[in-house]
Symmetry: C2
Subunit: 408 residues, 2 copies
């Protein structure tokens, strides 16, 4: 038995893998971009479509409890991030939810006009900040600083600090509790983007006294392509916010059809339009499986997968010019590992053609997602073996691997 | 052969009905709230889930053309509303799209500060206006007037007029071209909410020189519960708008992952987050069927269905106190017909219990949607017969019919 096989044999999470519909001959190291398909989602979606929509029609909003789905799923996600019931709701996209929370935070900190983030944060986070700058004609300023200068930039004009806990390219992790405390001490509120955290690393928003958070449904939560996202608002803030995106599903009594917006009590006011039922159905299947898993066991396996990957990659770094782009210390690394290489794009395309699916992130990063629910140690071992063979043969260096696709 | 049967025998759209999965024993007069399930959607969704997501995983963004879906579906919807290719995009909810277009219109009319609409417009339209008032701390004002006073209210502070063409309660239709011309003459831009128009009544946005429009995917387009919505921006305005909801999918080069938002050329800049693939898949099935139907034939059948319904209802109005809430003139009525009754809620609940599904709209409206693709004249005939029998027996008047559900 190889080392990897021994690790698989001892893996307490190994039984989850058979509950995913994974394609033959593929090693999937991109679950941090699009999570794999839970087998339960196939049947559940078919039921939602044929029975609930087809037969139940409009009555399914009540009978199939579609109307409660955003709150119900939100309460389940809350358990993955140390939030309480009624603090999380599933809705819209991460981008739209960022807008909701940025405007909410600004309204709670009215004397201040700066939104602070770090350079190289995930683009949509930064772009949504810049959209508010445009919208307010510069009254609110979007400010980006280098990661090491965040603390120094927390001056008395910063209304809100927006950071992503686990960096999408490198996996570098911020200390949520420490940074939140520093921002609060300086009078700023904080929004945490947990897109690469929820279901991937332990998060405790309550312990961190967090204000706001958003996250993605289609990565580690396995909610399907373009799944609804979610947002978190600490109970203490909820009823103080009058939402800017004040749609009818966030109204106190949407079916009274009145002319005056009156926000619903609690987290429901952060809904906007009609909930996307098909997307929520798939998201709930993914979340249901994730909350079955023990987060400490998930993190332990994630670290062990990363350790195996890094150990196997070390000679390739030496020989072919890969360099670790993630923190060397696994304690501050999320559930992924990344390497730079001058020819990262072509190498990743060639690797994908061999059935090892990771992804490329501009300009030069090969990113490998480590998803403990469905990834085996033997998969990681085999992935690096395939990469090593490919590099030795130089067979990756072909023109067709250099043609960029629309989504990379 | 009854009159209704004769009408069905001569109906050129009759063949569409068998392409919907309609439940036995139900007459569905609520397709203007949630459209019925196209049979094609069942297989197509299963394929998207099992093959594209399950087997294709991340590669399906390109291989299954997920990334093009918002534009591709938008171009199809454009054909239903007299818009050109590249003027419509499918995304987000109607509410979120209203926010995008309201802020766009305000930015194109910077010297003015009023958003005008009519009292009793669909609530989310009004609430989104009020959200902008909140967001701008009153710098932008949301103003509502009675429908008959719209023209008089178009003063030189009105930046944008937001109206729904077909009223959700009564089906009353505005004249898109005439009102747009009057608003333009007064220096205002116009947003048309076509939620109850697209796929229901003929619309010609190009002829009306329309600026902006939004619409819903889950009503007459049969896109499924909470389907993605869509928005229209006239070509002449597109590149002049810097979107307020500036997410990464609206960026000129989203996969360059830069720190600076640069809007995509054309309609794509009105995307925000990652497209909701499952919802878009179902929406496309619905739209594909709708564009097969001839719009003139759809309107003719819709008018004939309404005529039959009104004729059969006339004696019930006399005898039981129903009153037509829709315009008597079918030329200014959308694809629905509504009646008021003091006991509207309980009557509708009792009718639904008998398999005739319409809906109730507060405070006293019974609303019946007429969807020519899958409704037969015999269905309309039978629905009124059931209502007449129920009223005669007084069997509707039971306590359980007076208990309000969450969604009505």
């Amino acid at each position: 038995m190889s080392d990897a096989e021994a690790l698989d044999a001892a893996d307490p999470l190994a039984h989850f893998r058979e509950r995913f519909a994974l394609p033959e001959g593929v090693i999937y190291l991109d679950g941090n971009s699009l999570g794999a398909l839970p087998k339960a989602s196939v049947a559940r979606l078919a039921e939602t479509v044929s029975d609930e929509w087809g037969r139940g029609l409009i009555t399914s909003w009540n009978a199939a409890r579609w109307v409660e789905a955003p709150q119900r799923i939100g309460d389940k996600i809350a358990r993955l991030i140390g939030a309480g019931a009624g603090e999380v709701i599933a809705c819209d996209s991460t981008s739209v939810n960022l807008f909701k929370l940025l405007t909410a935070a600004l309204s709670l900190n009215p004397g201040r006009g700066t939104i602070l983030s770090e350079r190289g944060n995930f683009p949509t986070d930064v772009y949504m900040m810049q959209g508010i700058e445009t919208l307010t004609r510069g009254a609110v300023r979007a400010k980006l600083v280098e990661p090491e200068n965040i603390e120094a930039a927390l001056d008395d004009d910063v209304a809100v600090l927006l950071l992503t806990q686990v960096h999408y390219k490198t996996g570098r992790m911020h200390d949520v509790a420490a940074i939140t405390a520093r921002a609060h001490a300086g009078g700023a509120l904080v929004i945490w983007d947990l897109s690469h955290s929820a279901g991937a690393v332990p998060v405790d928003l309550a312990a961190a006294k967090a204000d706001f958070a958003v996250g993605c449904g289609y990565k580690y939560l396995n909610g399907g392509p373009g799944a609804p996202a979610w947002l978190y608002v600490a109970k203490r803030h909820q009823d103080r916010v009058r939402p800017a995106l004040s749609g009818w599903f966030g109204h106190a009594r949407p079916f009274d059809f009145t002319d005056e917006y009156e926000p619903a009590a609690g987290i429901a006011r952060f809904l906007c339009g009609t909930p996307p039922v098909l997307g929520l159905t798939a998201l709930e299947c993914g979340v249901d499986m994730m909350i079955e898993a023990d987060m400490a066991a998930l993190r332990a396996k994630s670290l062990a997968l990363g350790e195996l990957f890094a150990t196997r990659m070390a000679p390739l770094c030496e020989q072919y010019g890969f360099a670790l782009a993630s923190p060397a210390d696994p304690a501050v690394r999320g559930s992924q590992i990344s390497y730079t290489h001058r020819d990262a794009y072509a190498i990743m395309q060639a690797l994908i053609a061999r059935g090892v699916i990771g992804d490329f992130r501009a300009p030069d990063i090969l990113r490998f997602g480590l998803t403990p629910l469905y990834l085996r140690f033997a998969d990681v071992d085999r992935a690096v073996t395939i990469l090593a063979e490919m590099m030795a043969s130089r067979d990756w260096d072909r023109p067709e691997h250099r043609i960029r696709a629309a989504v990379t």
